[in-house]
Assembly symmetry: C2
């Protein structure tokens, strides 16, 4: 994982903890790949001010993950849901090929829909 | 939900965002039900200092939920996992009573174990 990707992920999870101005400078820098000079021009902050804002924002983002661990937690949740999904597929195949139960089929459908919904919010 | 329960839940999710001193005063007040005077005595902070610390902590906790929404998200995850669980139970009953497939049984076991693991971390 490159530094850029890492900060982008941190922004996804903790961007709301930054002030609008902080978020703006970090997004310009990491998501839009602008230079400090370009960001200074866009925001009307000095080049040094932009650099300070980005450093401060990075510190807030890393500290948030250290304290709340949402990214780590999300990875565990994702892998758990994937494992459930794999096993539902096994049951689904058995049911389609051998048992052909409508009740089982209905339950599998509900579970797959739930898994999709959960995958979206974690 | 009483105020106490709400703060206790916020503490579970965002307690790490408080300083040690802030967390101590809030836990004494909401989890241990001590009076401001008792907390002042235990911590060596003035009664007014304890009151300020609790007010400030409450603000941090409510703001964190407003910004990150982990408690709301967790409720959605819990209800999704419960729905999956209900449907796994339906499949399990069908399988035990009618199909008696070992492969399906194995997959159900794995899924139930994963559900339990996920329930613990959300």
């Amino acid at each position: 994982m490159t530094k850029n990707l890492e900060i982008s992920t941190l922004l996804d999870y903790y961007g709301m903890l930054l002030t609008d101005k902080q978020r703006e400078t970090v997004e310009y820098y990491y998501n839009d790949d602008l230079s400090l000079g370009e960001i200074a021009e866009n925001t009307g902050i000095s080049r040094q001010g932009v650099r300070d804002s980005i450093k401060r924002s990075e510190a807030i983002l890393f500290e948030a993950e250290e304290k709340l661990g949402l990214i780590k937690k999300s990875a565990v949740l994702k892998s758990g849901l994937a494992e459930i999904r794999r096993n539902i597929d096994i049951i689904d195949e058995k049911n389609m090929k051998i048992y052909r139960s409508n009740a089982v089929n209905e339950s599998i459908k509900v579970i797959l829909k739930e898994l999709e919904k959960l995958d979206e919010i974690i």
